[in-house]
């Protein structure tokens, strides 16, 4: 049994990366490129984990996936806090969403526009909305950061193993 370092610290590092870049105004547009910051956050978590590994120990894909998943979960939690802070000073991500929807979608159906207005009201007054955003963030981050962690494991492996005969 190989002794491997804890995945908690790499997960926290990846989570901090995700939260900062995903919630910071202007920088958060990077996520518009297929969740770039979230995928990179999972990758960063994997990189930190790989850096802490002992000399003769190699990283497995499950290490990468778990580190990526942890990065995503922490990223969503830290991100919710940052989002709350930025929404207090008028730079919330939800504001960006509503502005993009209403500014660019000119021929929006009337019923949809009413629903959007309803959601905007929820976002302003309801803590339930904060919870929904957090749950959505957790789902999104879990998917994309785990993918980033798996990519990290694939790219940062010390030895690129040839295919085993059994798996053919």
């Amino acid at each position: 049994m190989q002794n491997k370092p804890s995945k908690l610290i790499p997960g926290l590092a990846g989570g901090a990366f995700i939260a900062f870049f995903s919630e910071f105004p202007v920088l958060n547009f990077g996520n518009c490129l297929c969740c770039l910051w979230v995928v990179l956050g999972g990758f960063v978590g994997s990189w930190f984990f790989r850096r802490n590994l002992p000399e003769k120990t190699d990283m497995t894909s499950s290490d990468g996936a778990v580190t990526g998943l942890l990065s995503g979960v922490y990223g969503a939690l830290f991100g919710a806090l940052l989002q709350y802070f930025f929404s207090l000073i008028g730079f919330g991500f939800s504001n960006t969403f509503f502005n993009v929807m209403s500014d660019y979608w000119k021929d929006m159906p009337r019923e949809f526009s009413d629903s959007l207005e309803q959601l905007r009201l929820y976002s302003e007054y309801s803590p339930f909305f904060v919870l929904v955003s957090l749950v959505f963030g957790l789902i999104r981050n879990a998917i994309f950061a785990t993918a980033g962690g798996l990519l990290g494991a694939a790219l940062l492996k010390k030895s690129k193993m040839p295919k085993s005969r059994k798996s053919r």
Binding site: C32, V100, Q118, F136, I139, A154, K166, S167
Partner: protein, 168 residues
């Protein structure tokens, strides 16, 4: 091998469902089920992943999809890559493709995005779709071997098989 097939089916199904989720909001508006609130929530879910600009998105029944043309390409590419992977895997000499494959796959999308930003050319939705398909497919070739490794354990490098002493 059975575990790998189950994992492969799971990845195929989940990526198909995720792609379908992007089609859900316009489909819901089209069906006209009274309130458009579920469609709004659907758009809001994907707002963390994509800019959702209607002029850069494909439209279904007159309404934009929940993700832009490039993101649609990435999801479709991932699904296509996951479908093709068992065939391509037999021809691969190593478990994971080399890192440059990922870099080369991202390059067309990055070039298209950069050139459009600089005003050198105006990329249409068809080009966005194609430049999304390529990295989506490439990413699946890195993710799926990782998932296979998780379900069936890491493969051993050739020549490093553990020999037991017959005397013991």
């Amino acid at each position: 091998m059975v575990k790998q097939r189950i994992a492969h089916c799971f990845i195929l199904l989940s990526s198909f469902l995720f792609s379908c989720a992007a089609v859900f909001p316009p489909a819901w508006i089209h069906l006209g089920n009274g309130s458009d609130f579920p469609a709004t929530v659907g758009y809001f879910f994907f707002s963390g992943v994509c800019h959702q600009l209607p002029e850069r998105s494909f439209h279904l029944w007159g309404e934009p999809l929940a993700v832009c043309a490039r993101c649609s390409g990435v999801y479709a590419g991932f699904l296509a890559g996951a479908l093709l992977f068992p065939v391509i895997r037999r021809r691969l000499k190593r478990e994971f493709p080399p890192a440059w494959v990922l870099g080369a796959a991202i390059l067309p999308a990055a070039a298209d995005f950069g050139l459009a930003r600089l005003g050198v050319h105006d990329s249409g939705n068809a080009l966005r779709l194609i430049t999304g398909l390529i990295p989506g497919m490439a990413v699946s070739f890195f993710i799926l071997p990782g998932v296979y490794e998780i379900v069936s354990g890491p493969s051993k490098p050739k020549g490093l098989t553990c020999r037991t002493n017959p005397a013991s």
